[in-house]
């Protein structure tokens, strides 16, 4: 839902400005219901109806990716999870996926929690994309001297992590990485850890926990205060509204179009994908074709979505090395050891398998 909201909101925003060359955008959407075949069938279905796929997001994107691979002339401007889709010549992501991880946040944790990082516990969703993400992150962690003493892959419908908490305690875990857990499950884990009196020195996660409901879901500030968040996006829930104008635009259009909807990272994926698409389309001129759009996308080597994202290279398929670090203080996400706006770029991106 989030990706659709973000894409729709951005295109509505552009339409409100008159569209591109006087032409308005029309968004067609489908829901694959987590089904590989549905994802593929719907990609096939839309193939002849759209100029480009924009803002798609699915755990099953490798399935539709087969269709895109056999139709290299159709642009796909979406945040992808699957590296083979990400590498397709017709696919451009606002924050390209590269197996590996940003070293900046890992080095920060290492310098502030030198002992805790020797005893890391983590839970990984039993989904291919999450496992791939976790593998890249764990390779980067090991590169930095982290030691993972507990890592369990959990399955669908699992929502009770108390036994994991106990086993982590037994294993001497002192730092917990919740990066691949969805926000609601991360909140549940933290609630159960809190109930059992398990308070690791370091808990960190990524974008999925940055939601309006996370603190409430976890049981309040006393449970989540001190948790670190590192991500490639600005504090789009409002924390950066005063310093990043595009955050205001984002919130205005999302709330205007979908009253009551709480934006999440997927909403930002949709918004920034649409922004990348429109940016390229504006370069094409008054007679856009798929070919000319692909050409324009191939020239976008720096993209920030007007400050919403850390700079990435969609054309070169390079992940951003810059990051934003925040911490939960009194139940609110606040920048930590960061400038008041923008991102920190103090370490490279670690590419798994590249040494």
């Amino acid at each position: 839902m989030g990706a659709l909201v973000g894409t729709d909101a951005y295109l509505a925003y552009e339409n409100s400005l008159g569209g591109v060359d006087g032409r308005k955008f029309k968004l067609l959407s489908g829901d694959d219901q987590f089904s590989c075949s549905q994802n593929q069938a719907q990609t096939q279905q839309f193939l002849s109806q759209v100029i480009a796929f924009v803002g798609s997001f699915s755990l099953q994107d490798n399935c539709g990716g087969q269709v895109l691979a056999s139709n290299p002339g159709v642009p796909n401007v979406s945040e992808t999870l699957n590296s083979s889709v990400s590498n397709l010549p017709n696919t451009f992501s606002p924050s390209p996926l590269v197996p590996g991880w940003q070293l900046g946040p890992l080095q920060y944790y290492k310098s502030h929690f030198p002992q805790a990082i020797k005893h890391v516990g983590t839970l990984v969703a039993g989904v291919a994309s999450s496992e791939a993400q976790a593998a890249g992150e764990q390779a980067a962690m090991e590169h930095e001297g982290y030691k993972i003493v507990y890592s369990r892959t959990y399955g669908p419908l699992e929502t009770d992590f108390t036994a994991d908490v106990i086993r982590m305690q037994q294993s001497g875990v002192r730092a917990v990485d919740l990066t691949t857990l969805p926000g609601n499950l991360a909140a549940r884990f933290l609630q159960e850890a809190h109930t059992q009196g398990f308070h690791p020195a370091l808990v960190f996660s990524g974008g999925p926990i940055y939601t309006a409901d996370f603190v409430t879901q976890a049981g309040g500030p006393s449970v989540v205060d001190g948790i670190y968040l590192n991500q490639n996006q600005a504090l789009y829930l409002g924390g950066d509204a005063s310093s990043v104008p595009s955050v205001n635009t984002f919130l205005t259009w999302v709330h205007g179009l979908y009253p009551g909807f709480s934006p999440d990272i997927f909403t930002v994926y949709g918004w920034t994908s649409a922004a990348l698409f429109v940016q390229a389309l504006k370069q094409v001129g008054s007679s856009p074709t798929r070919q000319s759009l692909l050409h324009a996308l191939g020239n976008v080597d720096v993209f920030t979505a007007d400050g919403m994202l850390a700079a990435s290279d969609p054309a070169g398929k390079q992940a951003p090395s810059c990051y934003l670090l925040a911490k939960i203080v009194n139940g609110k996400f606040v920048r930590t050891d960061m400038p008041p706006s923008g991102f920190k770029c103090d370490a490279p991106y670690y590419t798994a398998g590249a040494g």
């Binding site: 829901d31 279905q45 009551g260």
Partner: protein, 640 residues
């Protein structure tokens, strides 16, 4: 040792959830005679209603609970009894099962349309949030204690009510013989209604209590009760204290699995052991003490079996399918061409259910597991697209089918359905979700079958090829129906006890039909994989199996025409959904409503139309002749 005790306590807290859900199931079964597959969905509806009242309308939690338990649940229970269940008295377990599955899909569809995923974002606060009690080194929340206490009270209290009170005895008795109860002066309808009201209230209570402890989404809450099935079967669907013990055993087992199974096993060859455990437990419990053995007693009802199709007719029908396939290839394009191709593949899979359920009367709730095995085998053999791979897919699926059928041969009715469900869920968690096996980002790539000397490139050729395959399979299924084996299947369906009494081998026939059916499903899997390219675990979910089975029931479970209609409509519903934005689960709603409306027709829509046509022909040919007995009913007796 302290860790062991800790896991035990954690497991008991989890097990209490299963116990409380399973107890509701048992009470419903004991007082209505129906195994309510919609039990979890009713609990889910109650949980979402509770969320709506407390989070959106800011009602006091206790007032909200009271409204749900004492107003909403009784009304829903009475409605279910009046609209759905009253006409099911004396029906086979299979028919009741279909109706409750239909109800489950309707409730899932409604909740999904009304609430979407919004409640999942905020969740439901626990009662006495933040308060805990320390037991043997583990902190247990008050909410968990409430669930545990409820499970104890339900197990003990309701046992007393059902065994020792007049109303309890009447509620149990009305299941067996309402007429006898009526003769004794008790109102059977009112008593049956009371049973449904009690069952729905317990489901609602479980839903409201459990919701703060799990993720608040429709599927999770609906399917969490599946883990409770094993507990209910431990109690033979009748014994509440044993059900309670079964629930705790499953919960404790899960905690031990998370606590002690080596982590590298879980990330390699044994994924999701904690989720697979209840399914393995359910399967084993059913085998160890099957609750329903072969019985000769029962109400004999005559249901009309569709006329057996002659060879000439089946060839004409097959020719029509192929001709329609060729016409489709010429006329259709894009989405609809792909949809028809997909529909033909699902038609082949539905044919496997015609054999198993339509002819032999064996209900399988997990047919997509065999489809998945077929697709996987096809993908792994000889490059993923050879005729050798297709044959192997059929063989491997048939072998697994026989393997599953072997221990379940003594089991029938609801227990057989549960055993197939357990197998399918187990396969989903351990096999299809195994990223080492489905190692292309959680999927496996299957290619279109390459037949020697035949070029099958392009969507048009594929559509024609699939129509030919469906036609051949349908002709083969009908030929099998005409054979001695086919007549044996129908006899087995009518009365296994009678079948055994005349010296026929129940085990051998069941094994054979399970293997044939699984093999055909495996063929469907090979074709499905070839059509889709990549396939993944979610393609073989139990909900997919259930939806296809219900569509087959709607169209006609005893005819290949019904299978074709079921396959095509199964493929078409998601496409229709993409044109309907105001309802978010159109397929679930259509199938659920359809099975409830049409489910009373034993031969489905297609069979009923055929019956109507046959009746008209008969009445025309009989006009003017008096005293002639009706003909055209073959193997008419059906033990319900």
């Amino acid at each position: 040792m302290s860790a062991f005790l800790s896991y035990t306590i954690v497991g008991i807290a989890t097990g209490a959830i299963y116990a409380v859900t399973a107890s509701g199931l048992v009470v419903t079964y004991a007082t209505t005679g129906v195994f309510n597959f919609a039990h979890g969905a009713i609990g889910m509806l109650a949980a979402f209603s509770y969320w709506e009242l407390t989070q959106n309308h800011h009602l006091q939690p206790l007032l909200a609970v009271a409204l749900i338990l004492f107003v909403g649940a009784p009304l829903l229970g009475a409605l279910i009894e009046f609209v759905l269940m009253r006409r099911l008295h004396g029906a086979s377990a299979e028919r009741s099962l279909m109706v409750t599955l239909g109800l489950m899909l309707i409730l899932l569809g409604l909740a999904s349309t009304v609430w979407g995923d919004t409640p999942g974002h905020t969740g439901i606060p626990a009662f006495f949030a933040g308060h805990t009690v320390r037991i043997l080194g583990v902190n247990i929340t008050v909410q968990q204690l409430i669930v545990l206490g409820t499970a104890v009270v339900v197990a003990g209290g309701l046992r007393l009510v059902l065994k020792r009170t007049r109303i309890g005895v009447a509620m149990r008795a009305v299941v067996d013989d309402p007429e006898l109860i009526a003769m004794a002066g008790a109102p059977p309808v009112r008593i049956a209604r009371a049973g449904w009201v009690a069952g729905v209230m317990l489901a609602a209570l479980a839903g409201v209590l459990i919701a703060p402890l799990v993720t608040l989404d429709q599927t999770t809450l609906t399917l969490i009760v599946v883990n409770g099935y094993a507990a209910a079967v431990v109690g033979r669907l009748r014994n509440l204290p044993l059900t309670f013990v079964g629930g705790l055993a499953i919960g404790v087992g899960e905690a031990y699995v998370v606590g002690y199974v080596p982590l590298n096993w879980q990330s390699s060859w044994l994924p999701n052991p904690a989720l697979a455990l209840p399914m393995a437990f359910l399967f084993v419990v059913i085998l160890v003490h099957p609750g329903e053995r072969l019985r000769a007693v029962g109400e004999v009802r005559v249901s009309r079996v569709p006329k057996v199709t002659e060879l000439r007719e089946s060839l004409v029908g097959a020719g029509a399918v192929v001709a329609a396939g060729v016409a489709g290839a010429l006329v259709l394009s894009g989405t609809w061409r792909a949809t028809v191709s997909q529909g033909l593949v699902f038609g082949v899979i539905a044919l496997s259910l015609v054999l198993l359920t339509g002819y032999a009367g064996q209900v399988s709730l997990g047919q997509m597991a065999f489809v998945g095995i077929g697709a996987y085998t096809m993908g792994k053999i000889a490059g993923g697209g050879s005729w050798l791979g297709m044959l192997t897919a059929v063989g491997v699926s048939a072998a697994v089918g026989a393997l599953i059928a072997w221990p379940t041969v003594r089991v029938k009715g609801i227990y057989l359905a549960l055993a197939t469900l357990a197998f399918a869920q187990f396969a989903y968690y351990v096999f299809f979700s195994n990223l080492r096996l489905f190692n292309d980002n959680g999927s496996i790539v299957v290619h279109r079958v390459a037949l020697p000397g035949i070029k099958l490139t392009g969507a048009n050729a594929e559509l024609v090829f699939l129509s030919v395959v469906f036609a051949l399979c349908a002709v083969a299924v009908l030929a099998l129906r005409r054979s001695t084996f086919g007549r044996r299947l129908v006899a087995l369906s009518d009365s296994p006890a009678a079948y055994a009494t005349v010296g026929l081998k129940v085990r051998r026939t069941r094994l054979a039909v399970f293997a044939l059916s699984a093999g055909l499903a495996g063929l469907g899997g090979a074709l499905y994989g070839g059509l889709q390219g990549p396939v993944s675990a979610n393609d073989f979910q139990v909900l997919v199996s259930l939806t296809l089975l219900l569509l087959l029931v709607i169209w006609g479970v005893r005819t290949p025409t019904g299978a074709l209609a079921a396959g095509l409509s199964f493929a078409a519903l998601p496409v229709l959904q993409s044109h309907v934005s105001w309802v978010s689960s159109l397929p679930a709603l259509v199938v659920g409503v359809g099975v409830i409306l049409v489910g009373r027709l034993p031969n489905g829509v297609v069979g009923s139309i055929a019956d109507l046509v046959a009746d008209r022909r008969l009445s025309r040919s009989m006009s003017g002749i008096e005293g002639t007995a009706p003909v055209g009913v073959e193997g008419g007796a059906h033990v319900a």
